[in-house]
């Protein structure tokens, strides 16, 4: 593995301004990530997971500490938000094309790529639908397609599969693993599901209650490709147990 980290976070602290001295969301987080690594974050609600992703995406400036990226990776990020976060005035197709549009891509190219993404997330036939006509899970799949279309090096996923049914969710796990392996992506994903994190991640980090600190940094040494059956192995069980114990 490349010894040089793609991303390094040093003593990151984030405090949101409020009426009495500020609300600490993240407290002294330090962590490094290597290219092509898949890292999951677990943690109780309000532990600052979304805040962390927003800092990494460059949307929120850290209160103190440093976030540094190798190369220009920060220029090319795909993000899936906790809510689908679609533009209600754009059709499914137009929403998915947005990242390419912002980069000034040609119309034909955009439409072809968008169609490819639409069939990837299983939304064929809904190209012209408006977000208000989609179910929560469908909207989230549009958001996933939008995060992938511009082939970002770094994917930031905030509970992307929480609103999907079990079947679709597992299909999306497979797709995500496949994309991650085929396209050499670096992925940071927030989740509440221990199963999901063990199915996908190389490493799982557990955050404490607010303000979030890293409580556990667990290497997931299950072989790949990961299959459903692994869930019933004793090693999987041991890892799951460790994670469960760390989550308050």
């Amino acid at each position: 593995m490349n010894p040089k980290p793609i991303l390094s976070v040093r003593d990151l602290t984030v405090t949101y301004p409020d009426n009495n001295g500020g609300l600490d969301a993240l407290d002294n987080i330090s962590f490094e990530m290597h290219p092509r690594e898949f890292v999951c974050f677990l943690g109780p609600s309000g532990s600052g997971k979304t805040t962390f992703l927003r800092v990494l995406a460059g949307i929120l400036p850290p209160t103190s500490g440093r976030v540094s990226f190798m190369y220009q990776h920060r220029q090319n990020i795909g993000m899936v938000f906790q809510q689908a976060n679609l533009m209600p005035w754009r059709t499914v197709m137009e929403n998915i094309m947005l990242p390419l549009e912002l980069r000034g891509a040609g119309k034909i190219k955009m439409e072809n790529m968008a169609r490819e993404m639409i069939s990837l997330v299983g939304l064929k036939g809904f190209e012209g639908s408006l977000p208000r006509d989609l179910s929560g899970g469908m909207a989230q799949r549009v958001a996933i397609a939008r995060a992938l279309i511009h082939d970002p090096d770094l994917l930031l996923l905030d509970e992307p599969f929480a609103s999907l049914d079990a079947l679709t969710r597992e299909r999306m796990w497979m797709e995500l693993s496949r994309i991650w392996q085929a396209k050499q992506k670096t992925v940071i994903m927030v989740t509440h599901s221990i199963n999901e994190s063990l199915f996908l991640a190389d490493r799982v980090l557990v955050l404490t209650k607010r303000p979030g600190k890293i409580k556990l940094d667990l290497k997931v040494d299950l072989p790949r490709p990961r299959t459903d059956d692994m869930r019933y192995t004793s090693h999987f069980g041991k890892l799951a147990k460790k994670l469960r114990a760390a989550i308050e």
Binding site: R54, A57, G58, I59, Q75, I77, G78, M79, F81, Q83, N85, M87, P88, W89, R90, L98, P99, E101, L102, L130, R132, H150, L156
Partner: protein, 256 residues
């Protein structure tokens, strides 16, 4: 069931027209019974005849055109200033703190009251009317712009930020479409107010326009002419309203 609903629907569409048509005989009846002279209450036929005369000698279209130009220019100027300043106010709390006392105070001055002043300073020509229109349009459009831009969802800003969108891209692809419903609402109010602004200006002093016709009719006891001018104003205001409604239908399909 659906058939019944459909007929009800078409019926209600014609109801408005029907009530207007019914108003004409009622008006005739009032003229008949009261026996008021023509210069106080002209009959519908008098007004119609006056309308045809003004139409054929070209004066009606000319004066309507003048007023329409004043309304549209005033609307354009007022809306441009209001959206630009409104956008800046929405984006900067400190600018809002600096400007809002003036803006609120300026609202305490009725434009109608300072219209004579504006005519004295700017002359009886089209300029003073355009300025009056834009002043009267300014505030409601400004308020709507501020409200509309402030209401843009912060998570969509996050999305644009994560995609490294430029300021211009954020403006065109996020802020404008997201606040368009409220902006068009402001335009709707502004369009109606602009008609009032033009007439107020023309009533103070003018040599042309519907307000001028109105006053001319008044001086010459040509009450039918006053009626014609008023109807033209109503038609102008309704058309502008209709244009805004069309814009809403065209651009806000995603809303309903």
């Amino acid at each position: 069931m659906t058939m019944k609903l459909k007929t009800l629907h078409t019926l209600s569409r014609w109801l408005g027209l029907l009530s207007i048509l019914l108003a004409i005989p009622a008006w005739m009846l009032v003229v008949q019974i009261s026996g008021l002279p023509k210069f106080i209450l002209p009959s519908p036929m008098d007004v119609w005849a006056r309308f045809l005369k003004a139409l054929t000698d070209g004066s009606l279209l000319y004066h309507t055109g003048v007023t329409l130009v004043e309304i549209l220019l005033g609307l354009l100027v007022g809306v441009c200033f209001a959206t630009i300043i409104g956008y800046l106010l929405a984006k900067s709390r400190s600018l809002e703190k600096i400007l809002s006392p003036y803006l609120v105070a300026s609202q305490a001055i009725p434009v109608v009251a300072i219209a004579p002043l504006l005519v004295i300073w700017l002359g009886g020509g089209i300029l003073s009317k355009v300025v009056i229109c834009s002043l009267i349009v300014f505030f409601p459009v400004l308020v709507n712009t501020v409200v509309g831009v402030r209401a843009v969802s912060s998570s969509l800003y996050d999305l644009m930020g994560s995609l490294r969108a430029t300021r211009w891209q954020i403006l065109w692809k996020l802020e404008l479409p997201a606040s368009l419903p409220v902006l068009l609402g402001g335009l709707r109010i502004g369009a109606t107010l602009s008609v009032i602004g033009a007439i107020v200006g023309e009533l103070v002093d003018a040599q042309e326009g519907l307000g001028f016709l109105l006053q001319l009719g008044d001086f010459q006891y040509d009450t039918s002419m006053v009626f014609v001018a008023v109807f033209m104003l109503v038609i102008l205001a309704l058309s502008l309203y209709g244009v805004v409604t069309l814009l809403e239908k065209r651009f806000l399909k995603w809303q309903k």
